[in-house]
Symmetry: C2
Subunit: 917 residues, 2 copies
Amino acid sequence: MVASVLRRTRAVRYVAPALAPPPIAAVWIRFSSSQATSAARELDADECRGFANARGAGVDVDVSFPTYMVWGSNTGVGKTLISAGLCSAILCQPGVGRRSKDLLYLKPVQTGFPADSDARYVYEEVSRAGRLRPEAVSESLFICNHTLQVSPAVQSSVNMSGVVTRPNFARSGDGPSSGVHSRGMKDFCSYESQLLQGAETSNRSEVLESTNGVHGQGQRPMQSRFTCKTLWAWHDPISPHLAVAREGSAVPDSLVVESVQGLLVALSNSKTGERNGEREDARGDWAEKWAILETAGGVASPGPSGTLQCDLYRSLRFPGVLVGDGKLGGISTTIAAYESLLSRGYDIPAIVIVDAGLSNEEPLLQYLRHKIPVLVLPSLPEDPKKSLEEWFGLAEGKFLELRGVLENAHLKRLRRLEEMPKKASDILWWPFTQHDLVAQDSVTLIDSRSGENFSVYKADSTSATKVIAQQFDACASWWTQGPDTTLQSELAREAAHTAGRYGHVMFPENVHEPALRCAELLLGGVGRGWAERVFFSDNGATSIEVAIKMAFRKYIVDHGLGDSPTDGGSQEQLKVVALKGSYHGDTLGAMEAQAPSVYTGFKQQPWHRGRGFFLEPPTVFQRQGRWLLQLPDVYQDDESSASVSSWKSRDEVFDTCRDSTSLANLYSRSIDQQLASAAKEEYTSLAALIIEPVLHGAGGMDMIDPLFQRTLVRECRRRGIPIIFDEVLSGCWRFGAESATELLGCSPDIACYSKLLTGGLVPLAATLATQPVFEAFRGISKLDALLHGHSYTAHAVGCASAVLALQYFSDPSRNPNLLRDGRRLRELWSPELVSTISSHPSVERVVSIGTIFALELRASGAEAGYASMLSKGLVEGLRHEGIYTRPLGNVVYLMCGPLTEPKTCTTMLQKLLDLLG
Amino acid sequence: MVASVLRRTRAVRYVAPALAPPPIAAVWIRFSSSQATSAARELDADECRGFANARGAGVDVDVSFPTYMVWGSNTGVGKTLISAGLCSAILCQPGVGRRSKDLLYLKPVQTGFPADSDARYVYEEVSRAGRLRPEAVSESLFICNHTLQVSPAVQSSVNMSGVVTRPNFARSGDGPSSGVHSRGMKDFCSYESQLLQGAETSNRSEVLESTNGVHGQGQRPMQSRFTCKTLWAWHDPISPHLAVAREGSAVPDSLVVESVQGLLVALSNSKTGERNGEREDARGDWAEKWAILETAGGVASPGPSGTLQCDLYRSLRFPGVLVGDGKLGGISTTIAAYESLLSRGYDIPAIVIVDAGLSNEEPLLQYLRHKIPVLVLPSLPEDPKKSLEEWFGLAEGKFLELRGVLENAHLKRLRRLEEMPKKASDILWWPFTQHDLVAQDSVTLIDSRSGENFSVYKADSTSATKVIAQQFDACASWWTQGPDTTLQSELAREAAHTAGRYGHVMFPENVHEPALRCAELLLGGVGRGWAERVFFSDNGATSIEVAIKMAFRKYIVDHGLGDSPTDGGSQEQLKVVALKGSYHGDTLGAMEAQAPSVYTGFKQQPWHRGRGFFLEPPTVFQRQGRWLLQLPDVYQDDESSASVSSWKSRDEVFDTCRDSTSLANLYSRSIDQQLASAAKEEYTSLAALIIEPVLHGAGGMDMIDPLFQRTLVRECRRRGIPIIFDEVLSGCWRFGAESATELLGCSPDIACYSKLLTGGLVPLAATLATQPVFEAFRGISKLDALLHGHSYTAHAVGCASAVLALQYFSDPSRNPNLLRDGRRLRELWSPELVSTISSHPSVERVVSIGTIFALELRASGAEAGYASMLSKGLVEGLRHEGIYTRPLGNVVYLMCGPLTEPKTCTTMLQKLLDLLG
């Protein structure tokens, strides 16, 4: 057996007095600030890289090598034993070729330190195993253990043993950093290392003698490396959130995540081969890399900030091993822990339990339907003081099996990720997409979502990189999204609860709690003051179809048309009044309310006629920092339109005191004339008004002059034309108010809600109506009823999600963006930056309201192609910067959620501005 | 202090030797079979009622009094202590009026018996508390403890102590029973009781002397009663499923559930006042009832059969108290256990933890957002042998608080249940419903679903009953449902996982695993052999709108129509070929493919024109046990139609060898003539065929002659008319095959799937198409693409649910109804009963296929009203029998899921037959 303990020159050696867990003798190496030698600097730049230098906010995480979390179904179930055994199995796999390893074991959060140090235990155990089995060590194995920051309590307990400190070790660095730091934690940087020689190394003694300075150049080859790291350690053996409180220190969640990311980036970038002079070639990156990240306590034990660990690490979504419990009660805690991980979107390809003679694996396998293996490790010796050497020997086969399971799961995942874009191109039929224009390598593979961010898989065949990158979902996934990470997690639980409680249940003549509660919230929220009935359907288009049927019936009843429903109907042609450029959905009934366009042509929908009277609306927008009005010719009138042509702020545009201006009169007169002339057509009735209040979304993010829409509503109401608001986009806080009716200052008879309604989880729509609209369907016959319905009407999961989301968005204790009155969101888009962008020479106009910021790129006539090119470049640039957007022609928009932090919006605006150049 | 131990005359007294847990002395009373005295019979009829006599399959469960489960986040967290303290608090609440109590404590499953007996512990602790605080006992309190069945191992351990057995005690009875029994368990019926006198009782000694025979008449008033019951006990202190295996016995899940139900029915029926001669008046039912049901181990610990307890008790869905863990790691196990209960649809109005000095309640409350209280009980004495008397004293206030929390939660739930039907009538707008015809008391309040069953709240103001009743969802909630309880539970977990992983993410030009996997499964399943592309949308109607757009484009391209998409389209009027009586959804585009009917009139949808050429289809059905063909006049032809007019079996109807019959020629000729004459109309193209294969659902469960549909498809294909199959109803095993194409023996170009697609959880639809259809949308311009899409296109939760459901239904290891070839379900509806019903004089015709059984009630012309009345009566009768159905006019149908046991179908058919009379 060959083993060697490496000691650095000029390093202070610190032997922890009786602190390390028996039976392993402790050997610690630490640097003092006065001894900041080149060796120590080297340590900074290499061993500590990632923690300080490469904090990974927005960093791509390499998925080409396996990274696994180790989770516990409870505390004390043996996570560290499994970590140690797994690390040994990875490093010392017998009978496998000589491929070198670069393994990182990470314990981000450790309490009970230094008496308890899981990293240390793993370090010692792997060393022991390597010493025992030199034939399994490939040529040589460098092993080190490193503790970065500790609480003051740890520091003083160690100081008492006479060791000096080294300030600001972890904070120097030049890598990406969000500027978040721990508070009260002290730099520690304990370090120990060993070099093990494999059985095949020809000249062992030579190696032994030359191991000082392994990081230098021209040294002997060192093929494998095992790095153990503890990032933060506290003294008391309690939950991290309590240790933080007791020991006066703090580590923010973002720092934990970024540090882990950073260390993985460092591992990804490291080239074991670089250390070997002869290997600085194309094979420099040939080491087989692994990372094992051991959590603290159970899956839902709090981390340092109090955030549950399963939530804390969620944005990374590394697959994991769950260490179950083989003892009495362990079936329950294992299953419950598994389900908690599951509901947060984790993949758990293996469960491991330490046997306690109860065959807990059998019910677990039954529960798992044998889809996930449950590996059973031998029982532990009854005497807790007994060495586990024998146990590890007995368990070795299982650890190798575990390694195999994880390796296979990793490869399977990678293979699937690699094949998905092609398969998608081959069998999916995307909406609104010309497949011939989508190159296979431009397909975005979305591996998961965490709050507002996509995790996107990116592979580059030339550089052979395979990473998961974060992209802010700045199209809010077709304007549906609102959750932050907490709401997403709560929505998942609510969906589980509701699916478990109801699945889906029949709705007509029935009632269930989610539907009723959702209706109550809608009537008390978006429908407040006007709506009295709620009709559920599945999406925006169906809610519009329903709304039009409602409005037409109201009109038919009010105007005494076609009283016999069975006679095939009146000869009257009913039309909607609508605005040019508005959009209400893709089913035929919704499309008919849309002015003819390239989207409604014969090849698209041969049945489309455009059964509406379509008015040209005046629009408002920001340019050069001012809000401007653009009047179509029909409203041009020297006197009125000239009176106010620009405003300083959006508030002025929406001010209802504009109702008494001459422009209001002009709108009123013109609308009156247009409606009157349209109504003259024989057998034609204008039987409904349908508008998107405030802003035409799909039409190009055109903000309509609110005064015009308010006037139009008044004119139609005067004529007995029922009013429909299509709030599919505007509703549920998208425009900074719960409903756009609050912005417009007038109410409809019927309004449609969808998209953000469920917080962005599943499709659901609601058409709200006044009681008089409802009355138009009452009668003695079923044939008078609204004979429209969808199978999943008011499905429980959708309604329950909506209840949660509506309450969440409107709750000041949960939505930090709510202003004090609870009726408006604070301004999310920096007015200064918006103004600056609106003054940019490439920018034609800017609109920002609520969660939406949009800009139109300047282009005229022949230049449209240029603008389209420009928007393409801009969108690509934004995606490269981690912002996923989709343009609407030459309109580029950013959309956040009602919970998004304004600073995130500012960052996006800044990046956009930078890209505009 | 007044206390009395009641002893029955002629009862054998059995003192368990050192088996009962200290510090409580054991007093057991047991009956021998040879001593079956009147007292013992009385015990049967009263104390044991419910277990043996009132097994509750299909029984209504009273919700007028609180029934709570006690769940543990792990074993050994103090469930029994909490149960005991809570029971004391319920019975001995100080300062509250003299209202008497009738409290049932139930421990269905006990292991480690008799050394461990939680019921016994609770019994003793409550006795002790009552003795300590006579002032809190109202007048008198009768306490008893009862163990019903034990394993042979328990029995022999007890027999060794010389106690005789009493055979078949638990099996005699005349109440409802499913005939399910335990196997190998032995009747035990140990019994002990006490009578406590309250401080206010005037003459205590008198009471003491007359307590023998409390169940008899003319005795002293006895106001309160506390019954502890253990239903089944095993000897070894291990998980019940292991004890069952080791001790050779079995208790089926259904027996556990029915026994619990039965005991609660008994509690509901019991009238404490009846025991008191002077109270046999209207106040007979005045006792305040409670039931506490303590589970074994943790929430997901297996019960006797191996089924996890959280699943085992799910159909009862009693609210519960979760006993969390105050120790290190307890935050995690408590949260995980809570989430496991949540995902199975339970309500948990309170969490209780025993303090361990770690303030675990703080992170728990933070996690729960303070919506659920976390009650903290004092730390237990460190010495486990120390009496807990002092601890219970310290904890008393918390137990009273817990009682208050549970009481309030119960009252809040009741109040909500009571108000919901009215609120629903006031604010909901039901689809396809004439609200004026829905009396408020006829609103069905669905409290939950468990597999195929609704749990329906029923209140009767005259009898003051408030119950939750089970109803089989025999309309499959508008034909969407498929899950059994296991699939429902798995769908809930899958929904949670997918929501946690993805929420919803943008689809066009993107790919995510659930959408891709779902598409793969669809193409390999329902689309096998013909489909190559999958387009997702939200529901049946939108999938049809998409299908029609696809078919029209294919036709336009193939026939060189309107080549410029921007020119407003060709003058050509495109029409669909469709069958009269078919139905494809309620959006305008889908409605246009429907022949004009009362549902499409001017008042319903003024825009509807019926843009189709509608053929009258021949139908087939069963009558007098034979399958008959009904030919519309247009196909009447003496020679061909007379050749075969009836068949013995459905298989003969579907046999493709009919393709060579003269009827096939007749169909072919007639269809050819009809299509040719329709195509002659100027500017009119028949540009798509759309059919519901095999059966018209909403049209009245009319089975179309498959030979006719097959011939129609062939004729249309010959003319270059694209074929659409509307498989919204027929797809995904509804008709006993994965797709109706397998039944018809021909494939479409385009087909639509929804309803059962997600297993019945959330809306999702898919339109499948051949590659040539897809090719018709390819081109260099986006404007050639299919410009149709919905925000939640391919939403992850829907796709993941579909993946699970499609796999589940098609997996022989999970779907016991799959025949060996894996392509067909076994016959679910008893052919004999179906034949009998088809011969009933009230029955015009019967259709049964796959999961559907339908009958048309006989009526002609003026009698239609009668038939409608008859169907109303039949539907009411079925609902009364626990079968929720909705008629289609005079067609009554029963629909089950692909996983439903045939015997359930048989039971329903039998009840239907009985009701037909």
